[in-house]
Every structure is written in C-alpha cells, then in structure tokens.
Symmetry: C2
Subunit: 373 residues, 2 copies
C-alpha cells in the first residue's frame, strides 16, 4: 500500500497534536512532581522521555478512524478524541512498565527502559554516597539498586494508570458518553490483565501451554488494547452505530492477533539486523508461543525441548533449534494462522464499515506485509 | 472517650452500608472475571475476601464526617458519599498489595495476604501438574511459584486502582464537583506514591535517613490517604467551605502522623501478644523509623548499628537493642513527637470546624490513647 503525500501530511499533523497533548499531560505532572523531591521528579522525567519517543500507533489509529468516520460531517468531540488518544498511549506505557517489572527486563528496543535507567543511576550516584552497608532483598548492593529501580517501575506504572483514568474521567462529554468510554476502559484493562496473567502463567508453568490458550493470551494481552480499544473509542466518540463499532472491533482483533503472531515469527526467524533484537531470546526465555505449541505436537519436539528455555543457549544451538522449528512445520503453521486471521479481517470489511474507515484499516494491514521489525 | 450506644448503632449501620457497596463493586467484577478463567477469577475472589474482612477505617471516617457536617440539614449526595468511601477502601487495598509486592511480604496481620495465598496454591496444585521442568527467574520451582504469585499482586493492585478511579469517575455529581474529587484523588495518589518511594529509598540506602525525611515519608505514605483524603472528600461532598476542608485536612495530617509514629513505637516496644507482630521485624528489616533516626544521633548508635538490619537477629540481641533504644532516649523522643502532633491536632479544633465534626475527630484521636495494636 502506497502512502500518498496527503496521508503523510495529515499523519504528521496528527502526530503533532498527539505529542502536544501528551506533553501537556506529562509536563503538568512533571512540574507538580518537583515538589516531592528529585527522585520522584525523576520518574516523571524518564516516563516523559519514553512516552514522547514512541510511535503513537494507538493514538494514530484512534484519530485516523475518528476523522475517517467524520468525512464531510461536523466533528463535535475532536479535542476530546485527542485527549482520549493520548490517554491510551499512557495506558500502553503503564502496561509496558509493569510488564517490564514482571519480566525483569531492563532494556526495550535496544535502550535502557525506565527501570534500567533508574538502576544505572542508583548504582553510580546516590547508592554510593549514602549508606555503604546497604543490602537489598538478596543481601547485595546490586540487589538493593535493582529493588529501588523496579519499585520505580511499579510506582510509575501506577501513576500512568491513574493518569489514563483521569483523562477518561475528565472528558468533556455528555455523561452517558463518558460512561460508555469508562466501560470500554474497564473492559480493556480486565482483558489485558487477564492476558498478562495467562502469559506469566504459561512462562511459570502454572498454565498448560496449549495452542488455544496461547492464541487467547495473544488476543487479550495485545489485540484488545492496541487495536480494539482505539477503534471502539473512535466509534463511540464519533457517535457511530453499534454495528459499525462491533465490526471495527472484530476487524481490529483479527489484525491484532496477526500482528502478534508475526512478532513471534520475526523474533525467531527474522533478520536481527532489521528487528534489532537478540534472535534467540524467545528460545532462551522459554517463551510459550504458537510456534512452540505447534512444535510440541511434532516428533521434532524432543530435539527442540533439550534446548528450550536454556538461558545459556549458544548461537550454534539456537540455529539448530530454529532449523528444527522450520522443518517440523511450526514456522509454516504460524504463517497459516496469520493468513487465517488476515482473511477473517478482510471478511469484516463489508459495507457496514464506511469506505473511508476501510482505507485506514487497509493501510494498517499493509504495514503487516513485508514487515521486518 | 466513651462510645455511646447511639454511636455504636450508627457505626454498625455505616459499616453495613459500606460493606454492601463494596460487595456490589467487587461482586460485579468477580462475576465478570469468571469469563477469563479460574486463575483470573481467583484474583477477584481473594481480593474480595481481604477487602471485605477489613475494618473500614477510612470509609467510616469519611461517612462519619460527612454525616456530622449535615447535622440537621438535607444531605444531597449521601449515596455518592458511600460509593466514594468504598472506593477509598479499594485504593487502600491497591496500595497494600503493591506495597506487599515491593516488600516481598506474604503475610499481613498474621494471615497469608493475596500473594501468600497464590503462592500456596501454585506450590501445591497447578505447578505440580503442568510442567515439572519449569524454572522461575532465579531458576527454581519455588522461584517460579513466587513470581506467579507476585505477578498476581501487581495485576490485582492495578485492577483495584482502576476500580477506584471508576467509582470517582462515575460519581453521580455535578461535573465541577466530580472534578474536585478527581483532583483530590490525583493529589492523594501522587503523595502516597512519593511516600512509598521515599520509604523504599530509605530501605535501599538510596536516600539518606535523616529525621526530617522520615517524618515527611510517614505523612505522605500514610496520613495523606488514610486521614486527609476521607476528610477532604467528606467536606467536598458536603459542600463545606474551603476553610473547613483545610482545617480538617490539617487536623487529619497531624493525627495521621501521630498514628504512624505510634505504630513504630508499638512495633518495637509494644506487647507482641497484643499487636500480633514479630517484635523485632522492624529491626531485622533495618526499617528507617523516627526511633532509629534519633538513635543515630546518640552515642548508643555503634552498639545498635551492629545489630540493625540483620535478618538473623536473635531474641536476646533484639532485647539488647530495644534496651539501648530506650536508654538512649529514642523511645521518649518519639513519644515527644507524638505529643507534639497531638497538640497541633488539638490546636486545629477551633470553631472553624463544626462541633459535631470535632466529636468525630476526638473519637478517632481517642483510639490513639491506650492503643496496643
């Protein structure tokens, strides 16, 4: 799909509007935070850098859909739509932060995340000067700095979750409309939390890793807040019929699942020079993906299992496992799942969804093809 | 202070109203949760047991103050006041859960907390049956179950924080009034998070443990949401003058700090048969309290420091440290701080605060005297 220059111009304008809204939301809180001392203010400064450095995938989807639903009509709630779009970006970042705490991650997309930044700072500055005898939960200085940094991740996630709700609660809308958005936010958080819990349960071996559970988890953990939430919010704010909202949500869920499955394929089979991640991290972590769920059902599994979830996996062993995953049909199987989801997505693009909005969705789907990162 | 039978009757009625509201809020969510499977539903079931088993200190303070501000007048927003009171109890429990995750605690007041319950269940049921080779972040089965349980604590805390905001956002009030309550909620969360961060920074040795910082931490972490929030919310909902609201908030902060300082004294010097806690846990954890901050300034400190923050502290050594803390004047010093706070509290009880509300505050203050647990 080619992006025309008018699309580019309008997307740039949207990005600016979203960025301004986020700057305002975060800037106001960052200034208020200085009253509570440098460590508290640091949380907001780091969160601001990370949020404003994002690609605004979710807010853009909301605004492009909202605008497309208004082609030629008056738009009553556009400013509120921008504020809800920005709030969804804060929600995304709140989820990422708590996910990073849960997974023990210090890096995201090649850069230190908030926790990694706090850890580096605690290790080199305050930690050195205050109490040299300090020990963390595991009785070490390093453990103490990590505990401090992860606490920052939990607390900043809490504040971003609160900020998200504040924007929804303050929306300048008729009360009934605000209540519908609040219902949507509640549904989204429940489903995302359920997905995160499934993901962790799969990783911790508390939940059995069958394919159905893994697909449900992907839908809950990613598709709901990344695709369904912006689409439903846009439809609600634009006053679209419930049939339109539901068709958009269903289309969004199929697209979201396709994206997530493609992420899994890219992580294992993609070119690390393009996606920038450790090509064997999923295997080292023992991540329960659809690829692995399929491989478990094949005769290749004993050969793969011996290496699965081993943090010390060598590059040679990783390549060996990858070949097995490909030969046993797991790669092709997941490619088939993606095609099924894309077909189901296309089937939703009937006349229920206005042509202008179909264009937005097809543009998004176009990003799936030839994706390398 | 003697509690009259009419006070008792009305408090019982209030407890019932608060309990019904909480049952409704949690019950609705617990039923919706079953759609996401047993593990997700379990989070709501456990949270419900814990929340409904509480003493409702904060909601009672809100409602008693609200009712006292209405003596003889029509009460327009009483149902909303009950829903806000219940929401504050959910906020309290959200803070407790994330605090327990941060502190690695599995027990609260002698019973397994939500994390402890999830850990026990994961260790004995699902964990056994699914993947015997599973390892947690630290590479052990036990580590895996703990990770699963602590994740439950983070996620349930997030959902309770969301539920708190939902109640505030949906309050059936004029928009201006709802915005004032939302401001109050935001202020409260910022201050409580700042307090939690200070507390963790003190424990991890990232922040210097001087008395002033410790007192600020106690105010932020406890007094704000336990005393100031219910009092300000009551005043706002009752339409009280801003002067009344501020006088109540100031009185509440002094009382809150006095309660927190008394908690520290009871933990170290109180009768464990009465308060039910390990009498040396604060010393073993190396908790930076006002008692310790004073002791650091005395010549007794080297003798105390040798034992401070040692998890293996024996009962004999604990008693030795306690004697030192008493003899060096730290116990008396903190008793003096409590008296100062109580004096400042009393000074606030001028005619700005209606007599009926002063009675509520004096009743609360009366609970401080002779407190053993």
């Amino acid at each position: 799909m080619t992006i025309t220059s008018s699309t580019v111009r309008s997307r740039t304008d949207l990005c600016t509007a979203i960025e301004n809204e986020l700057s305002g939301l975060i800037g106001k809180r960052a200034s208020a935070a200085t009253a509570y001392g440098p460590d508290f203010a640091r949380l907001w400064a780091l969160a601001g850098q990370n949020v404003l450095g994002g690609k605004f995938v979710r807010p853009l989807l909301l605004m492009e859909t909202y605008d497309a639903l208004h082609q030629g009509q008056e738009s009553r709630h556009r400013e509120t739509a921008i504020s809800i779009a920005a709030a969804i970006e804060l929600l995304h970042y709140a989820f990422l932060l708590h996910d990073d705490v849960i997974d023990g991650d210090l890096v995201r997309r090649g850069h230190a995340n908030l926790i990694g930044s706090l850890l580096a700072e605690a290790g080199t500055t305050a930690g050195e000067t205050v109490r040299s005898e300090t020990a963390g939960a595991d009785g070490t200085r390093a453990g103490s700095a990590l505990h401090w940094a992860q606490t920052g991740g939990i607390l900043m996630g809490d504040m971003l979750l609160a900020a998200t709700h504040q924007s929804f609660a303050r929306a300048d809308l008729p009360h009934e409309l605000r209540l519908r958005l609040l219902d949507l936010l509640e549904h989204t958080i429940n489903e995302t939390v359920a997905g995160e819990q499934l993901d962790v349960g799969l990783g911790d071996g508390v939940i059995a890793p069958d394919l159905q559970t893994i697909l449900v988890m992907c839908g809950y953990k990613t598709a709901t807040y990344t695709f369904e939430l912006p689409l439903r919010a846009a439809a609600t704010l634009a006053g679209a019929d419930f049939a339109v909202e539901n068709a958009l949500a269903t289309a969004g869920r199929h697209l979201g699942l396709a994206f997530q499955l493609q992420d899994d394929l890219l992580s294992t089979f993609g070119d690390p020079r393009r996606h920038g991640k450790d090509p064997f991290s999923d295997l080292r972590e023992g991540k329960e993906t659809a690829i692995i769920a399929h491989a478990r059902t094949t005769t290749a599994w004993p050969d793969i299992e011996a290496f699965f979830g081993r943090p010390e996996l060598s590059v040679g062993d990783g390549e060996h496992v990858r070949r097995h995953l490909s030969r046993c049909g797991a790669e092709a199987f997941v490619q088939g799942l993606i095609e099924e989801q894309m077909q189901a997505f296309t089937n939703q693009l009937t006349s229920t969804i206005p042509a202008s909005v179909r264009t937005v969705l097809l543009d998004l789907a176009g990003q799936l093809e030839g994706r390398q990162s």
